[in-house]
Amino acid sequence: MTQPFEPDFVQTYCSLLVVLAEAYQHILSVTTSPIECTQNLMVTFQKVDEKIRKNILGWVVKEIDDYCRAETQSELDGLEKFISIASPS
């Protein structure tokens, strides 16, 4: 099947985050009073929150973290070579 366009990752991801923010806001709108916040409701909300952190935010945070660690390591390696050249003893 020919796709009409290739969706941009960053734009798609940002749009998803906006929709998720609205979904969280919707929880407040459907909860009319604090009395409705029962224990089961809190457990379900924690499950939802955990799934979002794990499946949507976790991947990107982990990849950015790995990328930053690799870049920092490469910079430190370059600095170590410079120090070894500057002080051969």
Partner: protein, 156 residues
């Protein structure tokens, strides 16, 4: 202060030019699965936006939200046809003679055991009842994988 600002601007521009941070940010996320992930995120966003119009109370909304994320987790971590886990519900669609198994978590397979057939009279949604299954019928329309994008997702 002005000098500091100019230096900061120059250093920032220099960093952008030398490191290409914008391109790097894109490149770090690029890979063979980037298209698949983009499609998955788009499908999830479309599915979540459908839930926003769900009439009902907070318990029903959170149940549906939780179920949607549960199915998305399965969808994003299991390849089609994998035997690592079985979806709870399967929906068969036919396209040009091809029979595709599309998972639709709100529509059970015909003949498969369901909560009701197992003798469980408790409905999934509090607002659902057998005489007026409006919410249940409405949720049948929400698919995690919309039809036009299914072949692309299947290839990923």
């Amino acid at each position: 202060m002005i000098q500091y600002s100019v230096q900061k601007t120059i250093s920032t521009e220099s960093f952008r030019r030398t490191k290409g941070w914008e391109e790097s940010t894109i490149l770090l996320l690029e890979g063979e699965g980037l298209t698949c992930r983009t499609m998955n995120y788009m499908l999830l966003g479309m599915s979540v936006s459908g839930l926003l119009e769900l009439p009902g109370n907070a318990a029903d909304y959170l149940k549906a939200f939780n179920q949607l994320l549960h199915e998305y987790e399965y969808h994003s971590t299991h390849e089609p046809g994998s035997v690592a886990g079985k979806p709870k519900m399967v929906y068969t669609i036919r396209i040009n003679g091809l029979i595709l198994q599309q998972r639709n978590f709100f529509k059970p397979v015909k003949g498969a055991p369901t909560r009701r057939s197992e003798g469980n009279t408790e409905t999934f949604f509090a607002g659902e009842n057998t005489t007026n299954p409006s919410i249940y019928t409405y949720l049948n329309l929400i698919n995690l994988v919309p039809f036009p994008h299914y072949p692309l997702v299947g290839r990923c």
